[in-house]
């Protein structure tokens, strides 16, 4: 069971004070972080492309549907 008493440096961090805490990032951690960042970037780009394409496809579909409706209207109303 971990000690549940707040560590003094964590209290300082919560208060916005310097803690003197330091973590040396290992090459493995750096590599893993870079891979995660690349995956997030890819995810964001995919999302943008999906929403943009959906918007274009939906617009095209709706414009065509309206055009067809107008054509039918012209045929029916002499």
């Amino acid at each position: 069971m971990a000690d549940e008493t707040p560590k003094p440096d964590l209290i300082e961090a919560r208060e916005g004070l310097a803690t003197g805490e330091h973590h040396e990032v290992t090459p493995e951690e750096q590599k893993a972080r870079k891979r995660r960042n690349m995956a997030i970037a890819l995810g964001v780009v995919t999302f943008i492309v999906l929403v943009y394409s959906t918007t274009l496809l939906r617009l095209t579909q709706n414009i065509e549907a309206n055009r067809n409706a107008e054509t039918i209207g012209q045929v029916e109303i002499p």
Binding site: P6, I11, A39, F47
Partner: protein, 327 residues
Amino acid sequence: MASDTPISPQISQEGGATRSAPLSYSEGTALSLAGPQDFFALLKPRVMSLVVFTTLVGMVAAPGAIQNWPLALMSLFAIAVGAGASGALNMWWDADIDAKMSRTKDRPIPAGRIPRAEAAAFGGFLSLLSVWLLALTANYVAAGLLAFTIFFYVVIYSIGLKRSTPQNIVIGGAAGALPPVVGWAAMTGTAPVEAWLLFTIIFLWTPPHFWALALVKSGDYEAADVPMMPNVRGEAHTRRLIWLYSLIFVPIAISPVLFPFAGWVYGGVATLGGVLFLARAWAVYRGGEEDRAARDKVAMGLFGFSIFYLFSLFLALLVEHWIGMHG
């Protein structure tokens, strides 16, 4: 803010669950070594591929040819992401029992590669995104059904039923059965009786399929305290239930031939496969007297064949619609 407020409870409740062991102070300082492949594993890719397949069949079997393939594929992608999201949320909730079972102990959370809180955030975010995306690419009916599927799988099955009743996979099977209905709704904006027939096929297929596995892996479930049917009601009762469910399942699996969306190819596959399925279920039912290895072999035979049979049923529908048998 008072500086003497204890902070450990927040740290110890990572993942939103009080069941997890408290993290030590030093564990919080290191950076994660998790790679994208670990997050991908959270999505349960094999389950996701099955969902994609059954959803695609639901889409193709819906009346009228698919009008806009790019939009249909984007809808399929959204449904796949939704399935993956519910898988991640399931792994978040079940991390403690996953750690106890040989089949699941190497998953990213029990293996210590991803913290529970990250899995919960990842799954929750993808759930919202997938439902929103499906509403955009298809319609609100499909998006609502997808949201319900995720809710059912995570809240009703994982949180509610899995640890509390041996009927867990019977009721929980509804979550796995919904994808073809979502696919059908994505194409038509409706969920008619034909779509629910596809749902019923998967729903009734689930108990014999999972109980066959549970007969073999009952020790694992026992260790994890998951009340699967063989652990609670015994093997003999489970074998009888497998047989009874199979007797209901096979006629239902053949019944789509009575509807316009299935033809003779489907009928042939469903009937032939159904007979073989019943033969295997009967062997499981009658196999209680044999030694353990022989019983396990027969049960795994049914488990493996059940996957093949369900795949064949949906493939037959896909082929019929692909070659234009239904206009």
